[in-house]
Subunit: 494 residues, 2 copies
Amino acid sequence: MRMTAAGSGTGRAAVIGCGVIGAGWAARFLLNGWDVSVFDPDPGAERKLRAVLENARLALPSLTDRMLPPEGHWEFSPCLEDAVAGAGWIQESAPERLDIKRALLGELGGRIRADAVIGSSTSGFRPSELAEACPAARQMMVCHPFNPVYLLPLVEVVAHPGTDPDLLQSACRTLTDLGMRPLVVRREIDAHIADRFLEAVWREALWLIQDDVATTAEIDDAIRLGFGLRWAQMGLFETFRIAGGDAGMDHFLAQFGPCLALPWTRLMDVPELTPGLRKAITQQVEKQSAGSSVIDLERLRDRNLVAILRALKAQDAAAGTILNAHDAFLGQLEASDADCDRPLLTVARRVPLDWTDYNGHMNEARYLQVLGDATDRFMEVIGCDAAYIAAGMSYFTAETHIRHLNELMAGQGIRVETTCLQGESRKMRLFHRMVRNDGVLVATGEHFLLHVDLSTRRTCPARPEVADRLRRIFDAHSELGWPEGAGRAIGQKQ
Amino acid sequence: MRMTAAGSGTGRAAVIGCGVIGAGWAARFLLNGWDVSVFDPDPGAERKLRAVLENARLALPSLTDRMLPPEGHWEFSPCLEDAVAGAGWIQESAPERLDIKRALLGELGGRIRADAVIGSSTSGFRPSELAEACPAARQMMVCHPFNPVYLLPLVEVVAHPGTDPDLLQSACRTLTDLGMRPLVVRREIDAHIADRFLEAVWREALWLIQDDVATTAEIDDAIRLGFGLRWAQMGLFETFRIAGGDAGMDHFLAQFGPCLALPWTRLMDVPELTPGLRKAITQQVEKQSAGSSVIDLERLRDRNLVAILRALKAQDAAAGTILNAHDAFLGQLEASDADCDRPLLTVARRVPLDWTDYNGHMNEARYLQVLGDATDRFMEVIGCDAAYIAAGMSYFTAETHIRHLNELMAGQGIRVETTCLQGESRKMRLFHRMVRNDGVLVATGEHFLLHVDLSTRRTCPARPEVADRLRRIFDAHSELGWPEGAGRAIGQKQ
């Protein structure tokens, strides 16, 4: 098992316009092993890119339980033509003004690759409006992401009638390989899908403030302590379907439908953003985030999103399914290495942001989580995999001994090397060495496992093919000598 | 440390109307130790209550790392007057029709307690509209919860001009003690705050389906894979403030404001819920949840919400702060018990829903998490608490030995009893016995810890008061004899 320097699907991307969204795209590409050339005439753009990259380097690797490919290289190009030359993906994230976007897309002519995807990050304009101005209209589509681009999986992909269908498909594959989820919007409309909802909520929120019904902090609480929690895991309709109970969605519509006629919302009007309203909002928001800088808030947001996404990942639900699919993709990049003349490499990963505790380092329970992952990987290698377990047998851990030898901080890379100390079908004893990327041994884990029948929950012999593979690895590892630290009890002299 | 049978603030609640919302209220009260009497003439109401309670018993205890008080008792009352007599809280959750709600509230007269809160679950009506009909209008306010009521913390509390301000405050205290977050809405408006947003999104969603822009599944993806994730942790305004970058909210308003004038949303009109539109929605939703019953979806939703809420709890952010505050409240219910003539009770809790793994039982890493919590509690007892750690010293685990003796399933209760095997200021050795509520020993954990200076990350002596307390407990525990299983190494003969 070895990481390849560049997996399939990586290459070079051009990022045009490097504000928060453009820099987020750059980070998503770079951390997935792509090289990125950036075009942005704003002298502050490089600072923005560095700031976003710093956040992304902490957060994005926290989503995977594999190793991402080595980070790509980035450079700023003083001219648009140089930036896009040779790029397999060109992403436009200029300010949300039709004239600016059309002018930039208008320059994407002869020197771009014929198989390059041209994506626009526009949240409002239709692809047709933009493609009219672009000589390479066939390659152009909307690819609208959500901030922070390096963490949120959703990308709305909208083609115009002239978009090459093969390029649309290839764009979706690339986005998937980047760990994102392309949602192909079938009909062009202003603001696609998600931003129509954001717009509706935004207008209503402005009215609530204008009418002094609620402050920004009260509105945020009304969102994040109630339906916001629901919407992180199911959307509007599945949630309402549940509310309909056994009688289903039609019952819900019959019950809730008439309320639509009640005069609740004031959405018919657009509130005017008067200086007074602007000032009220700005003051309320500043009070709400008292003492937190934007960088503090970004870090807080990223930690929360990592924690929520990892929670959903463990459930394999909602956005978590996309993370698990990305892990499977990253696993394919690892060359299989089943040589038995040395300990097996069973884990290669970074410490996620949400694994540290009040002492500032990785919590002790996470050591056992990583060691447990190493055991799971060893079980897979001997054939005790998901299918074997689904068929009714598994190994259960009966005893564990851990030496915590050094600290681990969030973001640090680790690998685990596993030696088999005992391999007798019913009984398996493993010794894991957890090594930090700087070569320091941070922990050892020794584990005694019993093979069990999952229906009786009692020990039983493993199937012959599993027992054989276990035996072969044990025999080979017996040649390696007894590892330092194995067989120890607490309180025993060194 | 001992659980009291009923903490402060528990008592008897009356639930009027026992659909999904009423049953959710009943579950929230019961699992927090209140007795509940229910009035609902629908013969199917008891079945609904039992189904919701079954879900709530799995999910709600998963949110706390303490023990909830013993569950209260419930009964159905055939008559409204009996149900409300003597209740400290009366919650009306009848169907969303003004005439029905007014008729029920109109019957709350002489026999209710003068200090009882009368809360209405209405999502749309103003408290004034309801209170007009209620003889006990002084006690009446809107308490609008969100489904599932037993998991989501938000309650919109809306008074009318005649509401007794003391009762409003007492209602907020009770809701807080139930683990909820009362959001006092300062001005009565139709649909309060949150449902104005839901209404806006709902209208826009109906248009998207009516115009065949998106299916229900596409809309749900557009929500839960993008802004839905953001809104579980920060609301609309704090999210937008971040988007404004260093320039702040005013900059964002200047940039984004003009887009409001663009003709994005179709919210000016209310789409008619024609039979055709209703059929399209119902069919799309059924396809989206293919093969999942409503019960499946409810369980999936609850597992996801538990996982998200626990993730935010670990970050002490957003809704997680409310869970931590509730744990602190539950901790006050536990009488302190620092007798040293027996092992210390250091953990009493249930196994949360999201702690099980592919083998169907509590994952091995969670054993160490519980054992680590027991160690943390022991540290608190000797004075190595949050303040001591903030001042720069702590204990780090150096070595761990776990025997996994029996399985644990989600929802099972466990407690940990801790013996001190060594207590010498710099060095601490603990032995934890993890016992299931049926008395079965499920694991033992032996832990060797070193006292460290957090600035140098090296060992140092503990402060005298901590060293003394540790020594006293060690001396007392030395009398208890060497626990079975301590000092073992893996592979050692019994």
